[in-house]
Subunit: 233 residues, 2 copies
DNA sequence: GAGTGGTCTAGACCACGGG
DNA sequence: CCGTGGTCTAGACCACTCG
């Protein structure tokens, strides 16, 4: 049967997606090769390729040369998180953004910092502690280490008007990074800064970024109680 | 100046990425149009398009017809999280996977469940409580609600051998979903099931999925202390 | 109105990897 | 080996949107 000709890759993607979701093509099924689909839908192979590639990028298809294309066995959920600047995140919700630098020092990093960053344990790093606020209430505590050997300009900055978060994004481009999400209880200092109880469960983001092979910065963001990260699947 | 001809889109992407990261093209800069880049690199415009589109999808470029292509002002970090089956996640680390159903009942959902799911508050839903274990130690507690009106086959399943997590993935394809990450303290029952203290901060994943416009299931995964979700940026 | 990206085509060659 | 997806090309038309 010839389907009604679908000539653009979006329509084609939709149709293939429909066949997958309706179990017309169950998980594991090998689907027709590109040339055949092109014939069925009356379009060029490259258009089919575009549609199938898009589905493969979303994890719904598995493609291999010669082996062909199959419906993925486990459509493992992929969530794309967009991590905005805290300031933008707060302002986007119509709240007023506040910022306060709590501490700035140049000091020897603890092993928990120099280790992952791969920096010399006997070379001082810049350490900044800052509080982000939404509508004048504590929102997140930023505990950051910066390697001045990689970003010398950071030594000239006081971080009283702009957060390290934002300053680095503007002034220190990175080539790679990693991010981790977890949960943690605050210590006494952190609880005080966030104005919450010491037994509250707090959401934590740890991030580290590199420029080429050199670690730029390592940061731990501790969010006030109730914080959630949401996204569509 | 003619750059050494780059004929494949990956090399081209690399070169453009280099110019962005090296600030040769600072944030906000309009970059040459596709046709010009094609001429510079000695390749077809569609190849340039492929490379630039790829960078735009990663949020590094902003493209608009007529306006042209610009380097994104805020390279807001995007993290792609792949949420695997708990079983696969555990086995991938070389640990033994264990599973235990703790409870199965058909009961009226609390408002906190029927509300978000958009189901009638006076129609019973399937409620399953199950424990996932790694190397015989509690790993995550799965607290799930399933609408049997959408997935009737779920009524035939005892969930003693297979987790709702895995059963649903196999038997109830979804068309959309949402996921949220947060931190929470366990209540007494949860602490007992996870064999941890009641004041521990636990990582929580809430997920809800739909088929078309009908909510299939809502689940809350409570992870044992120390759990982290990691990914590259 | 006109310039730029978005997309489609028909054909070609190639790289990978299954049999 | 040889079938399949991956990619490139040259050209074309179109859609969006800025000026």
């Amino acid at each position: 049967m010839n389907s009604p000709a679908l000539r653009d890759w979006r329509s084609l993607r939709k149709e293939v997606l429909r066949r997958i979701q309706s179990r017309e093509w169950p998980p594991g099924t090998p689907i027709p090769k590109e040339a055949d689909l092109a014939a069925e839908f009356g379009c060029a192979r490259s258009t089919v390729n575009r549609a199938l590639r898009s589905l493969a990028e979303d994890g719904l298809l598995e493609r291999r040369r010669k082996a062909g294309t199959r419906v993925a066995l486990t459509p493992s959920a992929r969530a794309v998180l967009t991590i905005p600047l805290l300031r933008e995140e707060i302002e986007a919700r119509g709240q007023s953004y506040g910022y306060q630098r709590l501490r700035l020092e140049s000091t020897l990093p603890p092993a928990a910092v120099s280790g992952p960053m791969g920096s010399d344990a006997d070379r001082p790093l810049l350490h900044v502690l800052a509080l982000h606020m939404a509508d004048h209430r504590p929102y997140a505590l930023e505990d950051r280490w910066i390697d001045p050997g990689v970003v010398p300009a950071a030594l000239e900055e006081a971080f009283t008007q702009i957060s390290p978060n934002e300053w680095l994004l503007r002034n220190a481009p990175y080539t790679s990074g990693e991010i981790a999400f977890s949960a943690s209880q605050p210590d006494r200092m952190e609880a005080m800064a966030l104005d919450c109880g010491g037994e509250e469960a707090l959401f934590v983001i740890d991030r580290m970024t590199w420029y080429e092979a050199r670690a730029i910065t390592k940061v731990r963001l501790l969010f006030a109680p109730g914080y959630r990260v949401r996204t569509a699947l």
